[in-house]
Structures are given as structure tokens and as C-alpha cells.
Symmetry: C2
Subunit: 318 residues, 2 copies
């Protein structure tokens, strides 16, 4: 066990959550939630995905949203994207952090559905993207593998395949003069179990001991926080989470229960184990209740009904 | 890490779940669910609590229910109770396993609410109960501590207090000529976190290396399966779970999200990590959907919507 003292939480609810809702959430309402999230102490909020508006109409307001965001000291707003065109759109807003990532799906079937690109096409796109990073003078990038623990279309994904992709992406980055600072694993379809997470983290640490690891976990089958705990116990300190347990990829073939691990539940997990998150849990619970009102259906996060134990401890009647 | 090869699951949904529902579930319907559960491979089903019908009307049919149960090879039906009178009622059915347990609540405030007994009164009752076990010729008992990880009425519960209660209960058992075979910790109000679970298991192992440990976990704050994983990774192999995530104690002051860890989610956790449960996950998911229909509101288990990965792997189109 080597728990970190502190973790970084990337709040992805406004992007991943609202992309997955059937209804298009009005820009005003998105801004309101993001504004509330910015007051919780969370330092990075992923606000929009710059993808084709005809394919993902929920994200058609990405530029308009960026334009309306109030900036706050210590809070970064991030824009994500799937291809060069989207990356340029995110960059042109001038207000968003554009991720410097080279991410590929370990599952080709999912890549075709999500990015309309087979492995070869996806690799060619990443190669062009790496050229742009070089032009921009980016010093180091994140290497990401989506569907890294299993796939609704391909079944099991072998760890050796994940490691193989990381090696190929590393070679690509180095060949373009880019350093590597982080490896990122995405459990896009909620296939991971905690033993597998621990084995994957161990294997990456073994090969790339100097690199940070970040995780993007879904709670599709109830194992999300167990997976997070397994990673925390090995010192992983960088996680994507979504307020209320919002989230899901529209092209991932989810039957239901698509959401990311709920931010407030993850904050409670850390808080109870003495790991600093910088997030005010009561404020985050308020955001989760707000998110639930916005989407108009129950969200899976538990602490918003179960209650913050930290607040319980401070009750005068205890 | 020292995962067990196999775990024992005690299905407590029909007892703990139906006691917590506002509506009284008709005996017929309970029998139908229990019958379906008996077909899943689960070997122990807790079917009723023998408590005062005026206080818990949901359990008023305990004898009638026991009378109607069909017995199946390899399946044990268990009755639970809070006091001698209840224990005798459960025993008189002649069909139920009556737990041989000496259980006390680490929180006196909860003991008063749940059993109408302060610590002294509860201890006196356990002493009389131990006498009955002696008369019955019981060879070994389980020592249990409820509210072992925290309490909605008293706040934090110290591990030293839990260990102190186990020692006192052990002395009581030995003084009555009873052996001890198991220590049982109950997270009655969902206060546990996985680090605390691991520390508690370690401390008990240290002091009582020869005794089995069993856990009763609630998922009130989303940490239920992370807690189960922490215990599994230390070799704990005996868990209470409730189909669909039913459950909750009517006197525990739950704000919501009261349920036990969901049987089907726990089975998935084990299955994915290569730990044998003996339970057919698809059959258990059917039971969870049935339980959801019976109670008439969504139940928190995830796998019933997220899907059994084992079945995914067998799909011909993968």
C-alpha cells in the first residue's frame, strides 16, 4: 500500500455527462453548473468536446459555451476533441486548455464506431497531431489508451496489447521530438476489475517508472470505486470523475449505467482515507443535486443521498 | 494480496431488504423470490427476522413464510433475531438455520434504538442467550459487532472499541463453555472505507489468527464494493449481500441509499477476479430484476443494467 497524500481530480461531467444525455442542455444551464463546480475547489473542469455537431448535437455549443465561461484563479477549463479539426477549434477559443494527448483505442471496433477510423487511420491522425504539437512547441504529451480493460464490441483486451500501444505511441512521440509525461488508461465501457487495474498499473510502473499514470473509470458494473481504490493503493493520484456520476460515450454500446465514477463519491473515498482532494465535499454534493435537476432523472452517485461523513462528525448532537 | 479461491455468499435480501421497504410484501411474493434465489447456486438465504410484529410489520409473517418454503438440497434458509424470544420463534419453525451468534452494537445509541437495550442490558441478554446455546449443545458461536465502522448517532467508532467488544464476547462465550469459530463485523450504517476495513481485518487476524472473518457491508456512500475488495484482497471469504442492493435497518437513521452491497455486483466482482462464488450471475440478475419489480422502485445494483461480462464474452458476434 502506498497511498498518495493528494490526488488531482479532473471533473468531466459537463463534457462527458452532457454529451451522453438525450436532451440537449441549454448553454446557460451548462454555464451555471460549471460556475458552481468552479467554486468547489476542483482545479480542472472538462467543459466541452469539439466534435461534429451533426453527430453529437449535445456539444454543438462548444465555442459558445467557452465564450461565456467566467475564468477563476486556480481553475482550468479543458476542451477535448477526437481529431485535428476539433483540436484546432478548441485551441481557437483561446480560453480552454487543449489536452496534449495521443490517445488510441485498444479496440479497433470501438475506434471505428467512435472516431470513424480503424487503427491505421487513427495512427495516421495521431502522427499528424504530433506534428502540430511539435509546431506548437509542446514539450511533453500524454499517451492514452481507450477501452484499455475490455470492450463491448471486442470483449477482453489483453494487457500486452495495451502495453504494445503505449510503446507505439511513445515511439511516435519521440520520433516527433515530443517528450512523454503521463500514461492514461480509459475504462471506456466499464470492463475493469480492481485486480486488473492493479496488474495494469504495476506493469506500466515496471516499464515506465518515471511517468505519471492517470485513470478514467466508469461505474457501469458497480466496480468503479473499487477500481479507483486499487489504483490509489498503488499511488495513482490523477483521476477523471463526473459530478453525480454523469457520463458515458454515445458510441460505446452501453446498455445503461454508463456513468463515470461520481466525483462526490470519489471525494468521500479519499477524504475518509486521509487523501487530500482540495474539494469541498458539501459543495460538490450541491453540484450533484444541481446536475440531477438539470438532467431530470436520478443520477447514480450515492453520497448525495447517503450523506457526507465529514459533516456528520461535526454535528453538535453527536 | 491473498485473495481466496472461493467465497461464501449469504443472501440477505428477503430479510434485510423486505424489512426496510415501506410496503409490506405479501408472503406469496417473498416465497417466489426466495424460490428463484434458491435456483441461483447461492447456498444460504436469510429469509426472515423474528422480531416484534408491532414494531416491524414487514416481518410479521416470519413463521408463515418459513412454513411455505420449499427445501432444496444444498440451500440453507436462515432466520435472524434480536433477542431470546425471537431466537426461540425461529428455532420452533424447525425449517430454519438459527444463527449461533453473540452480536452487540459498538454504538450504544444504536443499540438503544435497534434493540431497546443499552450496552449493559444487551450484554445481559447475550449472557442468557449463551446459556441457551450451551443447553442446545452448540459447540462454537460467531462473535459479531454491529456499527463496527461508525454510527449515524455516535459518529466514529474506534477500532480499539471493536476489538474490546470482541474480547468481551469471547470471554462470555468461553465462560459458558462455547467455542468461537468466527468474527463478524457489520457496517450497519455504511461508514466504512476500504483502508479502515483493511486495518480492522489486519487487527483481528493479528489477535485471532485462527478465526474466520465475515463482513456485512452497506453501500450507503458508494464504497461498498471497494470495502469488499479490500477484504477480499486480505483473504476474507464470507460476505452478506442482498439481491439488487436491497436492504437497510429501519432504526439506523439512513437518509437514503441504505442497501447492502448488491449480490449480483459482488458476484461480478468475484467472477472477474477469478474467485468462485457458486452463483450463476445471469440467474442472480434475473432475481434482481424480479426484486425491483416486487418493491416497485429502482434498486441500486448496477450489473442488472450494465450487463454480465461473462455473458458478453460468450456472444457469438464478438
Amino acid at each position: 500500500m502506498s497511498f498518495p497524500d493528494r490526488v488531482t481530480i479532473r471533473e468531466v461531467g459537463p463534457r462527458e455527462g452532457f454529451q451522453f444525455e438525450k436532451a440537449v442542455i441549454p448553454t446557460d444551464i451548462k454555464v451555471e453548473l460549471i460556475e458552481a463546480l468552479a467554486q468547489t475547489g476542483v482545479t480542472d473542469i472538462e467543459v466541452a468536446s469539439f466534435v461534429r455537431p451533426d453527430v453529437v448535437p449535445q456539444m454543438a455549443d462548444a465555442e459558445a459555451l467557452a465564450d461565456r465561461l467566467q475564468m477563476h484563479e486556480g481553475v482550468t477549463y479543458t476542451g477535448t476533441y477526437l481529431n485535428l479539426r476539433g483540436m484546432q477549434r478548441a485551441s481557437q477559443t483561446g480560453k480552454l486548455r487543449v489536452k496534449h494527448g495521443l490517445t488510441i483505442s485498444a479496440s479497433e471496433a470501438f475506434s471505428i464506431r467512435n472516431q470513424r477510423a480503424n487503427h491505421e487511420q487513427a495512427y495516421v491522425e495521431l502522427s499528424k497531431r504530433a506534428d502540430v504539437f511539435s509546431e506548437w512547441g509542446v514539450s511533453a504529451v500524454t499517451l492514452g489508451v481507450a477501452a484499455a480493460f475490455g470492450c463491448n464490441f471486442e470483449g477482453d483486451i489483453q494487457l500486452s496489447s495495451v502495453l504494445g500501444w503505449i510503446r507505439r505511441l511513445e515511439e511516435l512521440a519521440l520520433s516527433k521530438g515530443l517528450g512523454v509525461e503521463e500514461i492514461r488508461l480509459l475504462d471506456t465501457m466499464g470492463w475493469a476489475n480492481p485486480r486488473q487495474v492493479a496488474e495494469s498499473v504495476d506493469a506500466i510502473r515496471d516499464r515506465w517508472p518515471e511517468l505519471a499514470i492517470s485513470l478514467h473509470l466508469h461505474d457501469t458494473r458497480g466496480l468503479g470505486l473499487a477500481n479507483a481504490y486499487a489504483a490509489l493503493s498503488l499511488g495513482v493520484d490523477d483521476f477523471d470523475t463526473a459530478v453525480g456520476g454523469l457520463g458515458g460515450c454515445p458510441f460505446a454500446g452501453h446498455q445503461g449505467a454508463a456513468g463515470n465514477i461520481a466525483t462526490e463519491d470519489f471525494v468521500l473515498l479519499c477524504q475518509e482515507m486521509g487523501i487530500e482532494t482540495g474539494v469541498d465535499l458539501d459543495a460538490m454534493i450541491e453540484c450533484a443535486l444541481m446536475a440531477e435537476t438539470i438532467v431530470g432523472h436520478p443520477l447514480p452517485g450515492k453520497v448525495k443521498s447517503g450523506g457526507n461523513l465529514g459533516s456528520y462528525r461535526q454535528r453538535s448532537d453527536l
